[in-house]
Each structure stands twice: as C-alpha cells, then as structure tokens.
C-alpha cells in the first residue's frame, strides 16, 4: 500500500494564536522504499507521523490530503481510522520506554493487537514471543515489565510490536535515538528488511547517518516546510540546500574530520495569529518567533524564505514572494531556494598568473560554494598565496575569468570597487606586518570603513568598530581603542586584523596562514573564534595553510596545491582518509611529525 501526502498543512491552535506545524508538505511512501524525514526538533517531523495515524491532538487543524491508495484518511471517521491503525499503518513512536504501559508485561503488549483482533490469547502470546526473538530478545526478557528492560531492549520490543500485524506501511519515529552503535546497526538491518518485505517505510529521524545510509528519498523539513528532497546517498556528500548542508555539517559521523559546527541562530516556531487592525478588521498573519515571546519577535514577513535569517547565502530577494520547489540541474534534488540551492560565491575559470618567467599559478578552475570552508594546503611556494590574493582581488590574473557572486569580478572592480571590496575580507599571514604601527587600534579597524566611505558619521563609525571588536572578544574600552600595535601581543594583533576584515560584514573571508605566527595555545583560541564567527556570520572561508593537520580541523573541503596547480580537491574526510595523489600522501605522512624510530636523514655532504 502506498501513502500519498498532498499539501498537508497542520496548525495547532492555542488560545489566541496557532502554531503552524506543517506547511503544504508533499510526501510519497511507496512499497519497497524507505522515505526519510529529517530536520531539527520542532520542524514538524513527528506531527507528520501522527497525522498519518490520525492521532493528532484535538487542537490540530488539518488541511490537504493523506491518501492511502485512493482513500483520503482525513475523511475517515474515528471508527474507520481505528480499523486501519496498526494492521495497515503502524508506528513506532519515539522516546522508547515511555511508549510501553508500565503495568503490563512486554510480551502481552506486543500480543495485544492480535488478541484484540481475535487471535486466541495463547497463540497470540506465542507469536509475540517469536517476534521478540526475531528482534534478538531472549524469551525471559519477553516476560519482563518495561522498567526491567534497557533502552535497546525496549526499542527492539517496540519494533516487534510495530511489526506484529505485518503492516504494509510502517512509520518509525526516531528509532535509533539514544541507542548504542550495535543496537543501532541491528535496527538499521530490521528497517532494511522492511524494505525487502515490500513495506512502505517512513523513517523520521535526526540521525543523518542512518537516513543517508537507508533512505531512498529524504525530505528535509524546516519549520514545517520541506526545504529539499534528495536521494539518501547525497545527504552527507552533496546536499543542495544550505539548510541540508548545515545539518550535515552539524552531525557527528565517523568520517567528519572538521570540528562540528552548529547552525547559526535558533529554530523558532511559526505563529499564526490575528490582531485587530486600526480600522477594526482582524489582521491575520504568520510570523516566525520564539514560543514564549512571540510578540517581541517582531513580525517577520509572511512571505519569503523561512531559512533566510540563518542562511549563509541569503540575498535581499530571498525575503520576497513564495519560494517554490525547484528541480536542481542534475535532476536528483528538488530544493526550495530561489538561488537554486547552494550557490557558488566565487568561480575561477582557467585563472593563471606568472611573475616574469616563474609561473606562480597554472590555469586553474575553482568553485567556492557559499557557507563552506575551503582549505588550500601545500608547501611554501606552491602558489597558495597567489591564488588567495587573486581570489581577494588584490592581484590581477594574467588570464582567465573570476566570477564573484555571479558577476565578473574584473568588470565589477573597474566600475564600482566600493561595493565589491566590502564583500571580501582578508587576513594576512603575519599580523604584526599587516598593520600600520602609526595607527591606533581604533584607526586600524575603522580604516576600511573610511576608505570605502561606508560610514561617514563618527558616532556610527565608533559603533561599527566596537561591534567588530567585541565580535572578536576584544575590549572596547577607550583606553584599548587608543593603543598602538606594539603594545599588544601577537594574538591580540591578529584579532584586531580579524576585526578589520569583518568590520564590513563580508560574504567571503580569505585567511592566508592566519595563525602560523601564533603559538599553539593562542592559535587554538583564534581558530575556534574564527570558526564560530564563520558559522554565526554565515561566512564563506578560504583558508590557506601549509599544515594539513590544521586543515582537517577547519575544512569542509580541501584543495592540495603543488607547483602552482591544485592537484587534488574534495571533501576533507576523503582527502585525509583516502588521498588519491602521492603528493597528498607525502604531505599527510610528514604532518604526522618526526618519527623517532626512523633513522635520521643524513646530510648530503
């Protein structure tokens, strides 16, 4: 049996307002396929599962269609709905043991649906026991009460209970939450068996690893709206929506090498409520707000993209109109994003640069996607800095095109440098040399604003400078603002440089060996701050370093440079664990440090 969900909208009414839990969601559950629903807590995942079961609370208003083959379940009365529950559509609820009645034995609870449908008690209990044994629970465990079972045993029991009537449609709500890896992999096997048994499976989970490994199709839910439909195998490697990317980046997998990054901002709820307008008519509108302070949250426009406030590639147009689902060019994904999914922020087409007879950079193609951290790794003289400076617009290439945010960079620079420059921030290798010793901290940070005449009013200038300084956790006291660089330590100077780079709130930050002049403890602090700012500000970061050990803690993607070429690039995990190129392997091996068991390299002389 298949389930087709069309434009399902669910609102929970509370007093004078309501929560919009699901907003025109489409979803298909097909026999022999696993469909996964992922998203943060509060995105409406569980509501969807309960809606299919007809178990939404009384204050829920439901619109749209939930078709079981041809019949709309929303038209069913309670008795008809009860007749299809468990036998046709079964659900394994989240939170394990709370779903079992504490005063009945596990075996009995598993057998109960059978008994109620007329199977003799003895046979039903025997069947339940068999099911539980199939799930790896010994018969003596079947006789226990829920409080006598571990979390993993309870989850196995719940699965056995869900499958007891052999339902063609199975909904699993967080089946692996809070479980150990071994039980989790057993449950993953059971879910795959369900696919082999031709059931239609809906897997609701925040375990992206599980969803990516099992699901045929994944729907990514945000504030009740599906942001992206994608094939399961693309979830971790090739997400198309910035939200999916952010989710994937926040998830701890065995492959993740970078430190985990959250998603900036918080997910709120969507409120629908009515005001009496001045002319006396009711004014109904939707806005996004925290549940406890929904009037203070301001009235976000009822249209535009919901993810805009947290997105790394938002443009003004994102706030306008209804954002509809679009199929991505490769045809595998559908995204709700007016930019067609994750956009490139910077593209190089055959960009090359020579200094006299020395070719610093051979013709190179490169694409930086918005919101990602791209690390260029390579030894000194490999062309890293040249590439970074060309990307920054500080050096002009001999040939090739640079496209920044969809516009030709050279043309943009000629016509309107003041609007381009603030979008790119730079931090240089040696902090002490990249600041003028004749300027105070205030003047250093204020300089970009003055050069590009972004802010002319002195008071506003001071506000911007102080904001930038507090972003990098530096003092904003008048004494500190009057200090000169030689009065500061290296770590503080680098933070001043970071504040200077961020004072324009750029979209792209280019950091050329930003920490190589710092001692490891200061380096660790500056890096952590840089990554925090990258997430909070939604920056795209081009990070240049010779230290591949550092790169693996920072990068989403790594490009390895040698001899003025990018010889290898790809997801950090792949490059670190399965490098293709010999040079990369050498680089990784050297990064492991001096091996004391290896004989010392003798001098050629």
């Amino acid at each position: 049996m298949r389930i087709t969900i069309n434009k399902l909208t669910v609102q929970y009414t509370e007093d004078d307002h309501s929560l919009l839990a699901l907003d025109r969601v489409d979803l298909h559950l097909t026999p022999g396929r696993i469909t996964a629903l992922v998203g943060e807590s509060g995105s409406g995942k569980t509501t969807l599962g309960k809606a299919i079961m007809g178990l939404l609370p009384d204050n829920a208003t439901v619109q749209g269609e939930i078709l079981l083959d041809q019949d709309n379940l929303l038209d069913f009365d309670e008795a008809r709905m009860n007749a299809i529950r468990w036998g046709t559509v079964a659900m394994v609820f989240q939170n394990g043991a709370a779903n079992l009645n504490p005063v009945h034995r596990l075996k009995y609870q598993v057998a109960e649906p059978l008994i109620q449908r007329g199977t003799p008690k003895k046979r039903a209990l025997a069947l339940a026991e068999t099911r539980l044994t199939d799930m790896g629970l010994a018969p003596e465990l079947a006789d226990r009460y829920p409080h006598e079972l571990s979390g993993g045993q309870v989850q196995r029991g719940l699965l056995a209970m869900g499958l007891i009537l052999d339902p063609p449609v199975l909904i699993l709500d967080e089946p692996t939450a809070a479980l150990d890896a071994v039980t989790k992999s057993f449950i993953a096997d059971v879910i795959q068996d369900c696919r082999a048994q031709n059931r239609s499976v809906l897997l609701i989970t925040h375990d992206l690893d599980l969803a990516g490994a099992l699901a045929d199709e994944i729907a990514v839910l945000y504030l009740g709206q599906v942001m992206e439909y994608l094939p399961g195998r693309h979830l971790m490697e090739r997400p198309a929506h910035p939200y999916t990317l952010a989710l994937a980046r926040a998830f701890p997998t065995m492959d993740a090498v970078r430190d985990l990054g959250g998603i900036r901002g918080d997910a709120f709820y969507r409120m629908v409520h009515a005001h009496a307008a001045e002319n006396g008519t009711a004014h109904v509108h939707t806005h996004v707000a925290a549940p406890d302070a929904y009037h203070e949250g301001g009235h976000a426009p009822p249209e535009g993209c919901l993810f805009k406030p947290r997105c790394t590639q938002a443009v003004p147009a994102c706030a306008l109109g209804q954002v509809e689902m679009e199929i991505t060019p490769d045809g595998d994904h559908r995204v709700r994003c007016i930019r067609g999914g994750i956009a490139s922020i910077l593209e190089f087409e055959q960009v090359a640069k020579s200094y006299g007879r020395v070719t610093a950079l051979h013709a190179t193609d490169l694409t930086l996607m918005a919101g990602e951290v791209f690390c260029l790794v390579g030894e000194t003289g490999s062309g890293k800095t040249t590439l970074a400076m060309i990307a920054a617009g500080a050096v002009s290439p001999d040939q090739g095109n640079r496209i920044f945010q969809g516009r030709d960079m050279d043309g943009w620079m000629e016509k309107d440098p003041d609007s381009l420059a603030p979008r790119i921030g730079i931090i240089y290798q040696n902090p002490a040399e990249s600041v003028s010793h004749r300027l105070t901290v205030f003047e250093i940070v204020a300089e970009p604003l003055r050069i590009h005449k972004t802010v002319t009013d002195e008071a506003a200038l001071k506000d911007r400078v102080c904001a930038a300084l507090s972003d990098v956790r530096l003092s904003t006291s008048p004494e500190f603002l009057k200090r000169y660089p030689h009065e500061l330590n290296m770590g503080a100077i680098q933070r001043v440089c970071l504040a200077r780079a961020l004072v324009h709130e750029p979209d792209l930050l280019i950091a050329d060996e930003p920490t190589s002049a710092l001692d490891p403890s200061v380096q660790a602090k500056v890096l952590k701050m840089l990554l925090t700012l990258q997430i909070e500000k939604g920056l795209t970061l081009l990070f240049v370093t010779h230290n591949i050990g550092l790169a693996r803690k920072v990068a989403d993607l790594v490009g390895v440079m040698a001899g003025g070429r990018i010889i290898e690039s790809g997801p950090a995990a792949r490059i670190i664990h399965h490098p293709d190129h010999d040079y990369t392997r050498t680089l990784i091996r050297s990064a492991r440090g001096v091996n004391p068991s290896r004989p010392a390299v003798s001098s050629p002389l």
């Binding site: 036998g87 709370a98 779903n99 009645n101 005063v103 109960e112």
Partner: protein
Amino acid sequence: MQSPARHTWLTLVMAYLAAALILAFLSHSLPRMLPGDFVTAMYGSSDVTLDAQQEAELRAYFQDDSGFAGFLGRLLRLDWGYSYTFLAPVSTLFFDALPWTLVLMGTAHLLSSLLGFVLGVEAAWRRGTRTEKAGVGIMTVLEGIPELCSGALLLLVFALHLGWFPAAGAQTAYADHTFVQQTADRLHHLALPLTTLILAYFPGNFLLARAGMVMVMKSPFVLTARAKGLPPVRVRYAHAARNALLPLVTRFGLRFAFMITGALVVETIFSYPGLGTLLFNAIAMRDLPLIQGIVLAASVMVLGVNLALEYVYTLLDPRVAHAS
C-alpha cells in the same frame, strides 16, 4: 532472589508489629489524659448525691492501676476489659457494634470508590466538554461540604420533614420480619447515613481519579495504545485508568484510618448502633476500658489495611516491587 524478598517482608512485618506496640501504648495512655472520670460523669448529672466516702470508694473501685504492662498482658490473653457503663465485656460490645459499622462504612467506601473511579475516568476522557466541566464544578462544591452538615440536612429534609426514611437506628426494633423484610428494613435505615457518607467521600474520589487520569492520558503509552487500533474502552481502562488507580487505592487505605471518626459523626447524627456511637458514648461516660479497646482495635485495623495495601500495590504496579 527468594531470600532478599522474604527478608523485605519480614522487615515489613516487624515494622508493623512495632507500630502496633506503639499504638497499644498510646491507646492505653491517651484516654487517661481525658479530664474528668467515670464517677463524675455517671453521677454528676443524676439525682443521686454521693457523700465523700461513697465517692472515694467508687473511685477506688473504678480505678485501673495495672499500668501499661498489665494492660499489654491482658491484651495478650485476649482480655479487653470490662465496660463500666454497659457492665459487659468490651469485646462483646465491640463485636456487636462492628458489623453495623462495617456494613455502613464498607458500603460507603466501596460505592464511592468505584463510582468515583469510573466517573472520574469517564470525565477525564471527555475533558473539556460541558458535562465534564459541570461535573468537576459540582464535585468541587460537594467536596467542601462536611458530612456533619450534609447529614444534618438530609435528616431534616428526608426523615423529619418528608418522613421518607427513618430518622434513627439500624432496624425496626422488636419487629417480626421475614429475612427479605428484615433486609429491606435495614436498607431503609441505611439509606440516609449511607447517602451522607457517599456524598462526603465520592467527590474526592472522583476528583482524584479524574486528575490522575488526565495526567496519565498525556503519557506516550496511551497514544501508542490508540495507535494500536484498540477499542476505546480498552485504551481507557486497560491502559490509562490502570495507571491512574494507584493514588485512588492509597486514598482508600487512608480513608480507613478515618473510618471510626467518620462513623462517629454520621452514626451519632442518625443514632446508628455502630462503633462510632459506641465510642461517642464511651467518651461521654469516661469509660476507660471501652475507649481503650475501641481505639486500639480501630488502629490495628488501619495497620492491617495498610499492610494489605502494600501487597495490593505490587499487584497493581510492578514498579513498586522494585522500589524498595
């Protein structure tokens, strides 16, 4: 597994025995602190005037100097003493009165608990409807009315004014009834005191059952039970109500502790020949042996009920067995 369990039960029984001993001591010593004595109470209001010597002799006759040890010793020989007022063994008086109280209080308890449970569960299930809201309102008001008040009103209206029910006693005295007639007659006498007690106990049970049920209905396992496609009655009773039962059982046990005092008020109002009336008279007459006997027997009964409840809990909720 066997030995720790037996150990637990043994500890439990020891604890209850200790409690019984303390109760015996209290029921021996507390009534002695009552001001006044039997001689004053007996002859104070009568026409008989005693001279000082007669009074001293009577006092010496009705003086019990045996102390707690003697009291305990007699108890162990099942000798409850001899009532000064009724000139009969305390045990005889007690066991004559007990069945009347048991019938009255037992029925009141059972009916109000059962009714309270079922209606409370059904009310919680229909939460938010007009009937439910009205029910909760009425019950809250009734809960606030003491049985002294409702009893007096019922007596006034249905017995004295309308004359539908007898105003006193447990049966018509000296009547020559067949068994059926006798039963009908006793029920007729029982109606008003029983109604008073049910009015007093039922609202609390109803509110407690409803509140417990409302909490339980929010539990995920109730949603699971619904998802399993079970008939609504089964979801309500086998899954939800079963888990809301525990506080009600506790209340049932606690109410037993008030059995004698509850009976005292109602039985006195309706002159019902139970333990309450007996105790009332005993106190009025400062009949020490009788007071001691009733108080001790009643408190031992409460202990016994509690001990039984400990076992019932483990039957109702397997988690209780693990808690200790």
